[in-house]
């Protein structure tokens, strides 16, 4: 039917274009989200930095935006974040890597396929649940071992956060190690290496950038973690690296102010955006490094 064909085809082409534009529009929402986040954080941070100098923000050792004697130094919040993150990593990295090596190099496939989803359930537990666990179980338990331990401290939420991050480190590292070509293992075995020697001296170095990605993602997740520390770390900004006393992280401060009755638009209120901007810059930096490492690691074995 020669008369009907051309208009149908044009119409079809138009439909195709419209659909493609719609899909591209949906893809662009992610871009708008980024613009929105950066815009919101910058807009209110600019208002904040009109009243507080960047120098004070970065060097003042006190953070007391709600007190009469106001100080706006981010360092106490930063130290709280670094401290809880470091404790979490001390748990998650060694255990996560051991699990990854065990699952990738020792466990039989059937065992691995049963254990991995079970471990991943640890990552599915909502963080507020871990907060409850840290506050009502781990802290009292630790207080029995460490007499001077405060009811709120960095140690307990840090340890619990470590277990939350365990599956992330284990799972991503295991993926990276399994991507190492079998030939390398066979070569090592042919030279008389045990499985441990192969794992530590051949597979792990070959999967190094992939393992680093899991580490970086774990750090990024830890600094952004909110509820565990909000519940169990205390909400007291303090410039210290002592894990036994109450501290406050950047995330917790944001939540704390959001819950309170601080007037919108006030200097106190704008602090959460300056704190948010700091957090965003940290996370963004880590993610970017992770992204490029990941790219490199994928290209190696594809």
């Amino acid at each position: 039917m020669p008369t009907r064909n051309p208009p149908t085809r044009t119409r079809q082409r138009t439909t195709e274009r419209v659909i493609e534009l719609f899909l591209a529009g949906c893809g662009s929402i992610s871009l708008l989200t980024t613009v929105g986040i950066v815009g919101v954080l910058l807009f209110d941070s600019v208002a904040f930095f009109r009243d507080v100098s960047l120098w004070d923000f970065l060097t003042d050792t006190q953070w007391t935006p709600l007190a009469t004697d106001k100080h706006f130094g981010i360092l106490p919040l930063l130290s709280g974040t670094v401290l809880t993150t470091a404790i979490a990593l001390l748990v998650a990295l060694p255990l996560g890597l051991l699990i990854a090596i065990y699952l990738s190099e020792y466990a039989r496939p059937t065992l691995r396929n049963t254990l991995k989803p079970m471990l991943e359930l640890l990552a599915a537990v909502p963080t507020i649940v871990y907060g409850y666990f840290a506050l009502t179980v781990v802290t009292p338990l630790l207080q029995r071992l460490i007499p001077g331990l405060s009811g709120f401290n960095a140690l307990s939420p840090g340890l619990v956060m470590g277990f939350m991050l365990l599956p992330l480190v284990a799972s991503l590292s295991e993926d990276a190690m399994r991507a190492v070509p079998q030939g390398l293992r066979e070569g090592a075995a042919a030279l008389g290496a045990t499985r441990m020697q192969t794992a530590l001296q051949v597979v792990l170095p070959a999967a190094f950038s992939g393992v680093m990605v899991s580490v970086i993602l774990a750090i990024s997740r830890a600094i952004g973690e909110t509820m565990i520390v909000a519940v169990a770390a205390g909400q007291q900004p303090r410039l210290t690296l002592n894990p036994l006393v109450p501290v406050e992280t950047i995330t917790t401060f944001i939540v704390q102010i959001s819950q309170g009755d601080v007037a919108q638009g006030s200097l106190e209120y704008n602090t959460i955006f300056a704190a948010g901007l700091t957090l965003f810059v940290l996370a963004f930096g880590l993610n970017t490094v992770g992204y490029f490492l990941n790219k490199r690691f994928r290209e190696q074995y594809d």
């Binding site: 949906c26 640890l122 963080t127 990024s220 952004g224 995330t251 919108q264």
Partner: protein, 283 residues
């Protein structure tokens, strides 16, 4: 040391190392079991029909989680309605349409970065953009918009991964039969990747259901009645739990543990479904 000794030493080391791996894996699972055990011990006594169907009360023993349960259900439905179409569409665009163009490459880096932005920051975005600029306040709509943006990267990445597994021959055969690009995607590729896409969606929603921090930041309340419209203030299970944990009385901790059990059952069911789907689909 003789050669034989060195070899047996190596082997012993190897066995020890394997033992360490087993201990580490066991420790992770033991913590999970311990966690569930503690919660059952603390909270199972409070689980009753009255607890599930009760509302706010001045007495811990009479308080229930109905407003929170209904709020969680509404928020999840709204979030799913917003996030699933947009997320899947974006995934399709990046994987099937924009392979070579610069916009797609840029979007990919961007989405990867968004996936790593802490959830509390999405709360700040939602607070300024939806709650204040658009005057939506602390309503369901604000919460659903915020959580949608939060889980969008997860859905996009999962959709792309699933589309990637569909062999190129499926597309080529479809084109050879005269199908257009969209016909190929919607009638061949997407159905073939359906299981993977669905798995990703379930995992993304299971993450949204446990989110607490962004909802606090956008001003979600705790003591509210069962909601009537999407513009109403609301509360959800994680917020109710946080509120109960923040109180000094032990009775509220029992309530928190019981509410956590409910939340965990929902989360684990969703994750179980996702794992089951993934295995079915992989076959």
């Amino acid at each position: 040391m003789t050669k034989a000794n060195a070899l047996s030493g190596n082997r012993q080391q190897d066995r020890l190392f394997r033992g360490l791996g087993i201990v580490a894996t066991g420790l992770g699972l033991a913590v999970l079991l311990f966690l569930v055990g503690v919660l059952l011990w603390d909270g199972v006594q409070r689980l009753s029909r009255a607890f599930l169907s009760g509302g706010a009360s001045r007495f811990a023993q009479k308080a229930g989680i109905l407003p929170a349960l209904v709020g969680t259900a509404w928020l999840m439905v709204l979030t799913a309605l917003l996030a699933i179409p947009v997320g899947v569409a974006a995934g399709i665009y990046l994987e099937e349409y924009g392979n070579a163009n610069r916009l797609a490459g840029f979007l990919e880096v961007n989405i990867n970065n968004l996936a790593g932005v802490p959830s509390v920051i999405y709360g700040l975005l939602g607070l300024q953009l939806f709650a204040r600029l658009l005057h939506l306040g602390a309503s369901f709509i604000t919460g659903a918009f915020t959580l949608s943006l939060l889980i969008l990267p997860v859905i996009i990445v999962a959709t792309r991964e699933a589309l990637k597994t569909v062999p190129a021959s499926v597309r080529e055969a479809s084109y050879a039969l005269g199908a257009s690009r969209w016909q190929t995607v919607s009638q061949q590729v997407l159905p073939a990747a359906g299981g993977g896409v669905l798995t990703g969606i379930i995992l993304a929603l299971s993450r949204a259901i446990g989110e607490t921090a962004p909802l606090i930041v956008i001003g979600a309340k705790v003591f509210v009645s069962v909601p009537q419209s999407v513009f109403d203030p609301y509360t959800v299970l994680p917020l109710q739990i946080y509120n109960w944990i923040s109180r000094p009385q032990a009775a509220y901790f029992t309530n928190a543990a019981a509410a956590i059990l409910v939340l965990l059952v929902i989360t684990f069911l969703m994750n179980g479904a996702a794992i089951y789907l993934r295995n079915q689909w992989a076959k």
